[in-house]
């Protein structure tokens, strides 16, 4: 541990001393010296949702992280230190995210934070994390703003985002289905961002937007929108509908048998959201970052490890959310190992620009962490529902894979401004 660094405790004390408190009561001693010895466990705060809209995905995310932690602990930990984790429910609510982050950092003394499905929660956590210099991994929120205007020096984004998926899908679909498009957009920030990415691409490749139907968040009945789509009769409908709204839409499209005509382009479908549902719920073409039946080395072994560790889980095979949680945690621990220290700045520098081989990622292309946006640039897969299958776990048919270079989110790179290293408090966890 580097002697010349401020520890976070000292930092907090300095800030406090600057305030009224300091002048009235003076700095006080804490009974625990933070991370003084190298034999102390490395504490990781898991901030995934356990209640609210994303409770189910949050649980999957968490299982991924815990498998990675268990594997590292079995090898003797990192830098000779055991890895410990604490989980607190972020309730799919940003305000709770802030509080949980404060608690994790100040009370649990977590040196690293990881976990998110909702972009609002991820934002809230990363603001607190940045203020304290604590590295935070956003595992599963696919909002383009996460690595765009809301990026932070301490935050790393592990999922593919809306823009990546749109890029993977649009050109292909114009060629295949036609250029008359209707956009079905959830009327909130994520929906608008995703729709904007689609519109730009449509212009670029010669498609036209016939109509954009905005549906408010919380819509449970899509019949008027589906009637309008029938009346307009487009070639393709690009849907940016999220959360529970998407689940209702899925159900209603399936009932109408409208899943194949017109052609539907959906954003990412998270595995925990679709697992166990009838296949006609998986209408149209959608994106994913990983699938458990990819024909690549290591995948079968990964699935077997999942099944051995979670024999009682309803979800019999791992999906993209689990995968992201696992990969993020694994890479966090490897970065600490490579850095040879838990110093946050050293670990950040180790992560920025880091290349991950296709083999390690169990994907088709090499991936890397973009040093300018902190988003992992990775392979994107387009998939659709498997038509003939007896295996009820095997729901996706992977249509193609697209390399990270072809789906790079240039909008995010333009919007993101990372804080400087000097503005990021430094400490050893």
């Amino acid at each position: 541990m580097a002697k010349n660094n401020l520890t976070r405790r000292q930092l907090l004390k300095t800030t406090a001393a600057a305030g009224v408190a300091g002048t009235l009561f003076g700095p006080w001693k804490h009974n625990r010296v933070y991370a003084a010895g190298t034999d102390k466990p490395i504490k990781i705060g898991i901030t995934s949702d356990a209640s609210g809209q994303y409770a189910n995905s949050g649980a999957s995310d968490r299982r991924g992280m815990q498998m990675a932690i268990a594997e590292f602990n079995a090898k003797g930990g990192v830098l000779g230190r055991k890895i410990e984790s604490t989980h607190i429910d972020t309730e799919t609510t940003p305000a709770t995210g802030s509080r949980v982050a404060e608690r994790m950092i100040n009370r649990e003394e977590a040196g690293f934070l990881i976990g998110a499905v909702s972009s609002g929660v991820a934002n809230a956590i990363s603001q607190v994390a940045q203020k304290n210099g604590v590295i935070y991994f956003n595992t599963n929120s696919s909002s383009p703003t996460e690595s765009g205007k809301n990026c932070h020096r301490v935050k790393f984004v592990w999922d593919g985002n809306g823009a990546n998926f749109a890029k993977a899908a649009v050109k292909n679909s114009i060629d295949k289905y036609g250029d008359k498009w209707t956009l079905l957009t959830n009327d909130y920030v994520w929906g608008h961002n995703t729709a904007a990415a689609t519109k730009t691409l449509l212009e670029q490749y010669g498609g036209t937007v016939e109509e954009e139907i905005l549906v408010p968040q919380g819509t449970r009945d899509f019949s008027s929108a589906l009637l309008k789509i029938q009346q307009g009769n487009p070639n393709v409908v690009a849907a940016a509908i999220g959360g529970d709204d998407q689940k209702a839409l899925r159900q209603q499209v399936a009932q109408l048998g409208m899943g194949s005509s017109p052609a539907w382009i959906n954003n990412q479908q998270d595995w925990p959201d679709v697992y166990g549902l009838p296949l006609d719920n998986l209408f149209g073409v959608f994106g994913t970052t990983w699938y458990y039946k990819l024909d690549l080395p290591g995948v079968d072994d990964f699935v077997a490890r999942y099944q051995a560790m979670y024999p009682d889980t309803r979800m019999r095979v791992p999906g993209n959310v689990f995968y992201n949680g696992y990969m993020a945690m694994k890479n966090m621990l490897e970065a600490i190992e490579r850095a040879g220290t838990t110093n946050n700045i050293a670990v950040i520098k180790e992560l920025e620009g880091h290349k991950m081989s296709a083999e390690d990622r169990m994907q088709h292309h090499d991936a890397w962490i973009d040093p300018d946006t902190h988003q992992v640039q990775q392979s994107i897969y387009l998939a659709t529902a498997k038509s003939e299958t007896d295996d009820k776990d095997d729901m996706f048919e992977i249509l193609n894979n697209v390399s990270p270079d072809d789906v790079r989110d240039t909008g995010a790179a333009a919007a993101c401004q990372l804080e400087s290293y000097d503005d990021t408090p430094t400490f050893d966890a």
Partner: protein
């Protein structure tokens, strides 16, 4: 105009579904003057019971289990449609027993108790059935699409709307044409009188609450194939139900049915012309109506105003 007709038709079906959702809520408010905030949780509970009955996985690998799953979906679905609401009704009766302690106090306490119960039921659903999205199987004959005037409609939705009409008429007949209904209505107006006539008021309330909870469960079984099934699905129910009874006027059976259809039409038609405002339109409708008519469209004076 030809563009509009399908949307009006759609709004009408939507309104009937809203009426079904509000039915049990209206009954309990109208008769017992209790605002049942657990309505949404009982709605979800009914749907989960139906899921358990149709899926039958709790029967395990026994002979009965195998026999049950070998049956076609239709009889299983019909059984679920009957038994699941009954189970939800029984759960409602348990809740009513707890609710008794709040009788005679301000209506606020009943409302708060059911709010707490809603949290508890939702958490119990999570423990029992998990947090993930589930699917309620339907018989072939009511799933799929139907072509009407060149446009595709969901067969199931038409079935659900028809079923809503059936349920509304049955409840109305029960209240108007049976002796039980007469006693229930009498209890709503003058509980002393009912007691004086020698009826057991406690049992009457238990029955009404059970019936209301059963109707919530029934609405759950019917609506979930349209909305999808997850533990917090009930959240989407309470607000429209609330809105509808206030719009229609507390204590008025037909008031709430008409209000539901108005809400359906306003959501359906804004859905065609300004879809981004379709959800907001319900609230604007409420503020407009209640701003001018303090007790909604057909409301009478109620103890809940105090």
């Amino acid at each position: 105009m030809t563009q509009l007709v399908p949307h009006i038709f759609n709004g009408l079906t939507l309104g009937l579904l809203f009426a079904l959702i509000a039915l049990g809520f209206t009954l309990i408010v109208g008769v017992m003057e209790v605002i049942n905030l657990a309505h949404g949780s009982l709605f979800a509970l009914g749907a989960y019971f139906a899921l358990a009955i149709i899926g039958g996985s709790w029967l395990g690998d026994t002979a009965i289990g195998e026999w049950w799953l070998a049956l076609p979906i239709m009889p299983r679905y019909i059984l679920a449609l009957i038994v699941a609401p009954i189970l939800a009704g029984l759960s409602g009766m348990v809740l009513e027993l707890a609710l008794r302690r709040t009788y005679g106090k301000a209506p606020l306490y009943g409302l708060l108790l059911t709010f707490g119960a809603a949290l508890v039921i939702e958490e119990l659903i999570r423990l029992g059935w998990g947090t993930g999205e589930q699917n309620l199987q339907l018989p072939q004959s009511i799933s799929g699409a139907i072509l009407l005037g060149g446009l595709i409609y969901s067969k199931y939705k038409l079935f659900a709307a028809g079923f809503a009409v059936f349920a509304i008429i049955m409840v109305w007949l029960f209240l108007e044409k049976t002796p039980y209904g007469a006693i229930i209505k009498a209890g709503a107006h003058d509980s002393e009188m009912v007691r004086a006539l020698g009826y057991d008021l406690a049992r009457l309330r238990l029955l009404v609450f059970g019936l209301g909870a059963g109707l919530a469960g029934l609405a759950g079984v019917i609506m979930v194939p349209i909305w999808g099934l997850r533990p917090h699905v009930g959240i989407d129910v309470v607000i429209p139900a609330f809105l509808i009874i206030v719009l229609g006027g507390i204590g008025s059976f037909w008031g709430s049915v008409i209000a539901a259809i108005l809400v359906g039409l306003s959501v359906g038609i804004t859905g065609a012309y300004a879809p981004a405002w379709s959800m907001m339109s319900m609230y604007i409708l409420l503020i407009l109506v209640v701003g001018f008519r303090a007790r909604g469209l057909f409301g009478k004076k109620s103890a809940l105003e105090n």
